[in-house]
Amino acid sequence: MNSDTINHMAAAIRAAILAHEADIESLDREIGDGDHYINMKRGCEAIATISAELAPLSAADALNKIGMKLLSTIGGASGPLFASFFMSMGKILKTTETATIQDIALAFESGVQAIMQRGKAQAGEKTMLDVLIPVADTFKQLAGQDKPAKEIATILKTVASEGLESTRNLLATKGRASGLGERAIGHLDAGAKSCEVMIHAVCDQILAKAH
């Protein structure tokens, strides 16, 4: 992984988020305050504007810079969470010269843990973590088994979608939807949806690679 790959992935994520405007926006309208899509878009566009600055950086520094940029751009609940994710990934990868797929899985896991810490949340609270935690777990496990990247990508897509779907029948105990009590049941979580969209975007890039 280098900053070229990161810029490439960021562009794919941005395209995917924009393509899912209607879904993401309506989910946060239903049980949130309706700004999650706009927040995600603002974040994606901020990263696009710094792609040239990211280019000369190491993967670790690029991820850290992305985190810092998101922190000062997104706001809301998702801003500090995604920022913590990337800054934590950057910190972990700093210690490795050329990251293996195992390194990346560990960095991803540490990013998810940073979100859990910052948001004081667990799985099962109807948040983005219901996608991120199972993905991190499966990723680490598959990477540990030396599975090929394409196989991992295919499986993670499924895990992400299942995680998203799992939020439907949960009561929300974190975030804005926690004020709704039982009324949140039956609705997917918006943050979980954007995570699913982003994970699919990245995995699709890996699957589309020639080799």
Binding site: D33, L71, P80, R176, G179
Partner: protein, 332 residues
Amino acid sequence: MKKFLNNVDHMLAESLTGFATAHANLVEVQFEPTFVKRKQKAQNKVAVISGGGSGHEPLHAGYVGKGMLDAACPGQVFTSPTPDQMLAAAEAVHADKGVLFIVKNYAGDVMNFEMAAEMLSFEHATIYTSDDCAVVNSTYTTGRRGVAGTVIVEKCVGSLAETGANLEACKVLGEKINLRTSSIGAALTSCTVPAAGRPTFDISDSDIEMGVGIHGEPGRRREAMREADAIVNDMVAAIVHDIEAKQLPLKGEILLLVNGLGATPLMELYLIYNTAAKLLKEKGFTVARSLVGNYITAIDMAGASISVCLLDDEIKQHWDSPVHTAGLRWGA
């Protein structure tokens, strides 16, 4: 969506510039990062800073000025501001007695202010407001939301800070007021977030949302529309129940705040006030202070919230002290 705006992306900046121009004697606005601060930097006092998503005007920028806030950090509409805003605001207004953040208890606000606080080099403390009694407090939730009670906390803590009181004393007063304040909101219509371009929720003419917050989130329950007295009766009952649950006295002097959520005419707010005051008197309270109007809004929502703050001499003194801001002014 029909709004006076040019471009959704510039709306906030244009509006804040207008605000700062209209109140140039009181405030200054700064961009990148965005914050509003007092024109005259205060000396030798705790710097009181608040902030949150925009769309709740006059909160918070409208409460910057003598006797209330030193600075406010407006985020995007309904989106909490980012830590760099709080850091820049703190840098600009701190005056050697530390920085006090007043934060409405929402995941986004809490986390962004928390990260700012972690990066802050000077002494600081944070008050979280959580007066909304529509959200049942339990160990499973992130806790109650901060709504109109925030105005009372900002007013009184601002007053105490003005006397030169220390950070700890300001925090203690703010937390006391937060504990002694219960609020609940009801909406007749949704609001429309400019960037979304359409109402956050659909609601028929025969329904209301009971227990709404200030972001167009659906309320606690959708209920049948009914006469104002019946709605107000339920709202007051929720407040009284909350005061009981907090084991606070069901008597004594109160401040009664009837707040419009943006599109509710004063005529209706005073009608609500009339019924609420009557019911609260019947319960045994004395309405000693009143505030009726749009003080913390949800853009263009038709709806209102009722807040009751149990007064004591200290709170009353700080409520009554002079305040000179765009949104609240007396004795000055």
